[in-house]
Every structure is written in C-alpha cells, then in structure tokens.
C-alpha cells in the first residue's frame, strides 16, 4: 500500500511523530513524550529500511520516485527520489535520530517534549533535503532545518548558547540566500523549471557558471564547513547539548557535502573544473591547518569539532579529484564520519553528564573507574585517527589514493592527517583516560549504564563493519557516482 510512497513516509513519519510529541504538552508528561519520540524515531528508521532492500544497485536513475504538482504557478513539484549517493545518507540520518532520542533520555529534564520534537522534525526535514529532486523543495527543507537546530542550540545549549545560535543561523542563511538567487536564475535559464535533473543538462555561460559556483560554494561551504567559513561550528558544537552536537556533526555537515554532488559538480561542471584548485586549496588548508588547531584545544568538544572540519576537508578534496575513487572515498568518509563523530560526541556527553566539564585537564585516570567506557572510547578514538579496520581508514585511504593520481603533493599534504589526526585524538585520549587520578571527583565516577552501552555498542558495530567490509557501501554508490562524473566531464558551455 505504501510501496509507492516510501520516501514520503521517510520524511513525514518523523515530522508527524514530532507533532505528536509536542502535543503531550508540559513536562508533567515527560515520560510519555520520550516514549512517543522513541517510537517515532524507530518507526522512521523502519520505514527507511525498504530503501536498502528494494534498492537497485545496477542503475544510476533515481529510484522510489514520487512526483506531484505542488506550486504550478512556478512549475514547482513535490518531486522525490534517491540514488546511490543520497540513499545511504537518509539511512544514516534515520539511524542517528534513534540514537539522539536515546541519548537525551535522562539528560534532558527541561521542556522534554519540545526537545524531542525538535529532533524528530529536523530528522524529517533532513531526509527531505536528501530526497528532493526539485530545487525549491530542496531549499525549503534545507532552510527549514535551521529552525529546529536554532532552537536546540539556543534553548538547551551551554552558557554562550545565544551567541552560537545566532552565529550559526546567520552564517548558514547568508549562503542559502545567495543560492536561492542562483536557483531562480537557473529557473529562467532552463526555460522555467526548478527540476534539479533538468538543471543537470542546462547550458550556462562561463560568467554565469562562475558567479553561481561561488554562490553555491558559499551556501554549501558554510554547511560543510570549509575553511575559512568554519568558525560557527566550534561555537555551535561547544554550546549545543550532546544530541545537538551529534546531529550537527553526523548529519548537517553532510548536507553541505551532499550539495556539492547534487548541485555544484553536475550543474556547473566548467566552473568546477576551472576553480577546482580553489576548493582543493581550501580543503588542504582544512586538513592540515585545522588539524594543528585541533591539537591546541583544551576543550574536548572543540577538539572534536575541529577534527570534524579536518575530516570534512577530506570529503571535499575527494570530490574535486573528479575520479570515482575520489568521490566514493569522500562519500565513504562522510558516512564514516557520521558514525565516528556521533560516537565521540556521545562519549564526551557521557563524561559531561557525570562531571559537567568538557575540559581535558579536569579528567585523567578515567580507565580506573570506567574501564568499559574507556574501551569504547578507545575504539572511536582510533577510528577518528584513521586506524585500519575501522571505518575512518577506508575513506581517507581512498581519497589519498585518488589524490596521488592527480598530484603527489595533494596526497602528501592530505596524508598529514594520518599523523595529525592520530596526534590530537590519541593525545586527548591519553590525557583523559590514562594517568593518575588527579581530580577527586573522578574517583566517584561510575561506569556506563545499559542505555549508554547500547548507544555506543551500536555505533561500534557500524564503525567496525564499515572498516572491515566497505564493499556494500561502495557498491551502492558506484553506478551513481560514475554517472555523476559523466555529467561532470561534459561541458555545459553554450
């Protein structure tokens, strides 16, 4: 019965669940709100499963397509569909939503219903971003998700949350608005269509391509975030509650990277080729320089936030190698980073819930009191450093290989991440987990409970599975990536 509208379900089930959670009202019904939220998140994940089981890896065409008239006045359609690039991201998002609900189970005691609802609604909107094939529909979801995220950071965040929320919102809005003008321009250039696939075949002059390239680059670059427009991310992360950080790192950053593949590369191939050096330069700066910045952090969340920026630099670097290996490497890195950064932020959340500090210096000797936690934390730290057999290794290795083919020095600079990543992650791990117990409050810590084991355990399985056998992931992507690169190789100049 719902076979034709799986994507609609994937989008609307979490949103409606969010509305249902909101309807429970005040904190008197907090427990009810939590259970409805969990049920909604699980249901959202379950309805996304047919996307995997019914996915045809042999075609690059859009699958599970739905198309209906939405705003005929401007020829805007409710047009959904996924390919090998977007499908894994939808699944990742639906999965992370479940984790976020569980992660906020005890920690959030204030406005529980609103907290849970904000995450569920945002989850649906993000699925919408990945599934949209109409420019305006994409934009609506892309912008709409700012509202819940703004509230999450601002209401449940840390002391400096207001500054962080405003900075995050205005930065991302700046990019999006220029993208909107570009989309309107494309609408007239393509003869009155907001269809993204039509845009893929629209001819555009070099000046127009250049201007739009930088407009889109700003829109998606801010979201990724790329150096030098990354400064909102550490602020937002530090002030966001754990769930907010998880979603920010694991999902919203992917929205930016996804935009490169869906908009910049196929719509503006000539400008992309012309200015590839620019993006590559920014990506390498992100990898090397931000890696060094991460090394200097004393706040764990900030450290992981900077490490996210460095890892996302790998993603954009891979995309602009214009080879299947590079793009697939970037995609694998995106998913892997989704798991690893989510896990690391959850780990920090576990510590923060107990000691209410994110400062590295307040910890030390944790392994004595929380051995189980230390083991999990070790795995994720290693994955973040790109240790083989974890998911972190696969994407980085693929991108470095692709880079070597293009230019040795690209690969050389990119490979510094293997050293820097290991340095900042493992050094932090050492200072937090090993050594003498210096802080008396660490003495009183208890190890992780069943709920936390469940959270970290699920992510550990994902990290290891993807690290040991990444082929299912690359199989799903391969045909779509090859088709995408065929588009990119074709000049769109008139």
């Amino acid at each position: 019965m719902f076979g034709q509208s799986i994507l609609s379900l994937v989008i609307w089930v979490p949103i409606l669940a969010g509305v249902a959670v909101l309807a429970t009202g005040s904190d008197r019904n907090a427990m009810l709100a939590r259970w409805i939220a969990l049920a909604g998140a699980l249901l959202g994940f379950i309805v996304a499963i047919p996307l995997v089981t019914g996915f045809d890896t042999g075609t690059s065409a859009m699958q599970f397509v739905e198309k209906a008239e939405w705003i005929p006045a401007f020829n805007i359609h409710y047009h959904l569909g996924v390919d090998g690039i977007s499908m894994p991201l939808i699944l990742l998002n639906s999965f992370i939503t479940v984790l976020v609900v569980i992660a906020g189970w005890q920690v959030i005691q204030d406005n529980v219903a609103q907290y849970m609802a904000a995450f569920l609604i945002m989850s649906g909107l993000i699925n919408g971003v990945f599934a949209s094939l109409d420019g305006i529909l994409f934009y609506v979801f892309f912008e709409g998700m700012l509202i819940p995220l703004y509230l999450i950071v601002g209401v449940w965040g840390g002391p400096n949350r207001v500054y962080a929320a405003f900075k995050f919102f205005l930065y991302t809005l700046l990019g999006s608005l220029l993208m909107l003008v570009s989309m309107i321009y494309l609408y007239f250039q393509s003869g009155g269509s907001f269809d993204i696939q039509t845009w893929h075949t629209t001819t555009l002059g070099m000046t127009a391509q250049t201007l739009m390239f930088f407009a889109f680059l700003l829109a998606f670059g801010v979201k990724v975030p790329m150096w030098p427009v990354h400064t909102w991310l550490p602020d937002a992360h530090v002030e966001a509650p754990t769930g907010g950080s998880v979603v920010l790192a694991a999902i919203t950053l992917k929205v930016g990277a996804y935009g490169f593949l869906r908009f910049i590369l196929p719509i503006l191939p000539d400008a992309s080729a012309e200015f590839a050096w620019f993006v590559i330069a920014l990506s390498l700066i992100a990898v090397a320089y931000i890696g060094l910045v991460a090394l200097a952090q004393s706040d764990m969340k900030k450290l992981i936030a900077y490490s996210s920026i460095a890892h996302m630099g790998f993603v954009t670097l891979g995309f602009f190698m214009f080879s299947p290996l590079g793009v697939e490497g970037g995609l694998v890195q995106m998913i892997s980073h989704g798991f690893v950064s989510a896990a690391l932020f959850l780990c920090i959340g576990v510590m923060y819930d107990r000691l209410h500090s994110r400062q590295i210096k307040d910890y030390g000797g944790l392994v004595n009191k929380m051995p189980l936690f230390a083991a999990f934390f070790m795995l994720f730290a290693m994955a973040n450093a790109g240790l083989p057999a974890t998911s972190g290794f696969v994407g980085e290795f693929m991108v470095i290989m692709a880079a070597t083919k293009v230019n040795f020095w690209f690969a050389f600079v990119a490979a510094t991440t293997l050293i820097l990543g290991a340095a900042y992650t493992l050094w932090m791990y050492k200072r937090v987990v090993f050594g003498e117990v210096t802080n008396p409050r660490v003495e009183e810590l208890t190890d992780i409970n069943a709920r936390e084991i469940l959270l970290l355990g699920m992510l550990a399985v994902c990290v290891l599975a993807m690290g040991l056998y990444p082929k299912p992931f690359t199989d799903v992507m391969h045909v779509s990536v090859v088709d995408l690169l065929a588009h990119v190789a074709q000049s769109k100049l008139p």
Partner: protein, 481 residues
C-alpha cells in the same frame, strides 16, 4: 430609471457599507456604555454583508461603471475580500484592548468602517478622482483613529505628524496628477494609458508628473526617504490603531500603486522603474538596519514594515503581470503576518500594560507555549524562512526581479533581508532562550485567541501549500490587465 440604477450595481458593496456606517452612527448615539457591543456586532455584520455582496457578484472581466469612475474587476474583488477579512480580524483582536482603555466606543467602529469604505473605493477606482477620493477617506479616518485616545500626548503627537505629512503627500500626489492631466487631457486611467501609449511631445511635464506621483505614493507606502512618519505613528498610536494602519491599508496601497503605475502609466515604466529601484533598495536598507536598534516592538515592526514595502516594490518595478501578481501575493502575505504580530501585542497586553517592549516577550515559551509558537511562526515568516509563507512571498518577488534581468537587485535584496533576519531571530531568542521576568498569567479572550491560532497556522499552512493563494493572485492580475 432602471438604467440609472443598474449602473450603480457594481458598487453595491460600497453603498451597503456606507449605509451601514450611517446606521451604526445613529444607533450608537442612542445607546449607553453597557451596550457598546451592538456597534461591534453590527460592524462585523457589515463586513460579512459586504463580503456576501462581493462574492455574489464576482466579476470575471473588468466592468466600468459610474461613467468610467469606478471599475469592478477580479483584482478589485479579490482585494476587497482580503480587506474584509483583515478588518474583521482587526476588530476581533482590538476589542479587549479598546475596552480596557476606554476606547470601546462607536467612533472607533465608524472610523474603521469609513476607512474600509475608503480602501474599497481605492481598490475599485479607475479614475484619478476616485482614487484620490478613496485615499482621502481612508487617510482622514486614520488620522482621527490615531488621535482617538485624547488624553495620550504620544498618540496626539503621532496623529499630528501623520496628518501634516500625510496632507503633504496628498498634495504632491495631486500635483503630479494635475501634470499628467495637463499632458493627456484626461483623468481616467484607461484614457491616460491609451494617450501615453500613442506617444506625447510633452516629455518634461510628464516626467515631472510621474516624479510627483511616485513621491506621493512612496509617502503613503512609507518607502525611504519618505518614511519618517512611519515609526512615530506606529509607536505613538494605540496598538489597536497600529494594527489597523499596519494591515489593511497596505493592501489598498498596493492596489493604488498598481492602478496608477501599472494601468495608467504603464507605458512610462522606463521612467518609474529606476525611481522604484532606488526607493526599494533604500527602504530595505534603512528599514532592516534601523529595526535592529529598536527596543520597542511596535517601532521595530514599523521599520520592518518599511523594509517589507521595499521588498513589495521589487515586484511592482518588474512592470510585468508576473511582477504585479508577485507583489500582490507579497502584500497579502504581509498583511497576514502584520495582523498576527501586532495582534500578538494586543493579546499580551492588559489594562495598564502595553506589552510593546521587546523584553515583555522574554520567556513567553514558559508562560504560554502555544502563543510563543504562533509568534515563532510569524517571526520566521517575516524573515522569509521556509516552511512559512513569508518565504514564498520573497521567492515570488525575487523571481520577478530576476526575470527582467536585475539579478544584482535580487542579490542586494537577499543580503538586506539577511540583516533583517537578525531582529526577527532576536524575538524568538527572547521568547525561547530567556526566562520570563513577568509571570502574570496570560488570559486573552477565547475568540481573539482562536483567531490568533488560525492566523498563525495559516502562515504555516500556506507555507506548506502556497498554491491556492498564489493562483488567486495570478488569476486576479491576469484577468484584470
């Protein structure tokens, strides 16, 4: 005899409103203070009756009446229906506020209905004389409304400013009209359009006429640099009057501008487009930047109005049906949002407490989550963030501008609206991030709360499905030009 009567038929709603206003004036003079609700109920009935008459005689093509002074076309019908809706909502929102301040008198209702009548005439005018007549009927009613609170020196000052500047603007408009008359020898818009399309040797007087007309229109719209009266009047007037001034007259002003520039001076688009570009950019810049510095919500919304009118002008300056349709969509959406946000100030106010400071909204989410949510929708809609209807209003206008090749203007508009997003976000911040310092329970009357809920949800529902309203605008413009 019957011929004589039938030519009045298209103006039946106007005649009905006029008759009812006179009736209310008489009845109200005869009843005492405890029965003021009669005027309230009769006013709502008047609006409903006028709506009925308008719907009954919906026109599908333009019909000229009263010797070419009056036109009944789909554009007029649609705009009138929205005027009725807006005025009815204003009446519902204002009732408690007026009662608590001793303004719950027949005068308010009579003035509001006279203003409505003026707006209806403006919307249906096809002749400079009727346009001016409607405008003055509206303006004079509004001057009096602002001054209705006699013992308030702020309100009196606002009324004085409004009157002096408004009269000046009317003078400019008349001066411009007389020059156009001198060039074309006609006051009827259709004739003027015809004569100007054929060409004229009298370029200089014509251009001067256009300049004066545009300046007069800019005054009425509150576009920079003719905006000085807006913040003072919005701030000084009792909130119920601000609500009125900030909503329905914008719709009428849109019709006024489109009738004069789009229908009468259509062939002179090359002359007025550049002027409107300057007005629009200045309005968006000054409105958005000055709004940031305000601590009074009414004043902030006044500057926000200025910037919204600038945005609306973008659609008109496109000079195409697409552009007029977009501007119409924009102004209807703006009226809806403006009603909601000023209405919210009214809902939160109570006897002796105006609730018009920004800090009065602190922690609203803890005091009333539902009202905070409605205000959140309104603010994001004003900022043009989807999925609220404000986004489509901006989208529609921007695409009209890009269509005529003014991409740079679209870029300037979005960058200035980014600045605007800041102060709307600040309201959301106050409501959601801060803790309340005032914990008095909020107990608005159930009917105004119901209307407010519908108002807020409409912003969201039209944001998810904007097509119906958009189709109405496209139809109204398409069938009237």
């Amino acid at each position: 005899m019957s011929d004589f009567l039938t030519q009045f038929a298209p103006a039946l709603p106007e005649i009905f409103v006029l008759a009812m206003v006179s009736l209310i004036l008489l009845i109200d003079a005869a009843v005492d203070d405890s029965k003021r609700y009669i005027a309230y109920v009769l006013s709502l009935a008047t609006v409903a009756g006028a709506a009925f008459l308008t719907v009954r005689d919906l026109s599908t093509m333009p019909v000229l009446a009263l010797g070419g002074l009056f036109i009944d076309d789909p554009l007029a019908d649609v705009l009138k229906l929205f005027l009725y809706l807006t005025v009815a909502m204003v009446l519902v929102y204002s009732r408690d506020y007026l009662r608590q301040r001793g303004l719950y008198k027949g005068e308010f209702f009579v003035l509001a209905l006279f203003a409505l009548l003026g707006m209806m005439v403006m919307v249906s005018a096809s002749h400079f004389l009727t346009l001016y007549l409607g405008l003055e009927l509206l303006s004079l009613s509004l001057y009096a409304m602002v001054a209705l609170q006699r013992d308030s020196s702020v309100a009196t000052e606002a009324a004085m400013k409004y009157f002096v500047l408004g009269a000046l603007a009317s003078g400019m408009l008349l001066y411009g009209m007389s020059m156009v008359y001198g060039v074309t020898g006609s006051l009827a818009l259709a004739d003027i359009a015809q004569i100007l399309a054929d060409g004229t040797d009298l370029r200089i007087p014509l251009v001067f006429g256009v300049v004066f007309i545009v300046a007069g229109l800019a005054f009425k719209l509150g576009a920079v640099p003719f905006h000085m009266w807006v913040p003072d009047v919005y701030h000084g007037a009792p909130t119920a009057m601000t609500l009125f001034i900030g909503s329905a007259p914008k719709i009428a002003a849109f019709a006024f501008v489109v009738r004069i520039l789009g229908q009468g001076l259509e062939s002179q688009v090359g002359e007025w487009r550049d002027m409107l570009v300057i007005l629009a950019v200045l309005s968006m810049a000054v409105g958005n930047i000055a709004a940031i510095a305000q601590t009074n919500l009414k004043r902030m919304l006044a500057y926000s109005t200025i910037s919204h009118m600038g945005f609306m002008l973008l659609g008109i300056l496109a000079g195409s049906q697409n552009g007029y349709g977009s501007a119409m969509f924009y102004v209807l959406v703006y009226a809806l949002m403006s009603l909601g946000s000023f209405g919210m100030i009214l809902l939160l106010s109570r006897a002796g407490f105006e609730s018009d400071k920004l800090e009065d909204f602190k922690g609203l989410n803890r005091r009333s989550p539902w009202l905070a949510f409605v205000m959140l929708l309104l603010m994001f809609s004003m900022a043009g963030i989807p999925p609220t209807v404000g986004f489509y209003a901006k989208l529609a206008v921007l695409q009209a501008v890009v269509e005529i090749g003014y991409v740079w203007l679209a870029v300037a508009a979005v960058l200035l609206s980014l600045i605007g997003a800041f102060y709307y976000l600040r309201i959301v911040k106050l409501m959601y991030f801060d803790t309340p310092h005032d914990t008095t329970p909020i107990a608005p009357h159930y009917d105004s709360q119901l209307v407010m809920s519908v108002n807020g949800l409409a912003v969201l529902a039209l944001g998810i499905l904007p097509q119906p309203l958009m189709a109405v605008c496209v139809y109204a413009i398409g069938a009237s030009f």
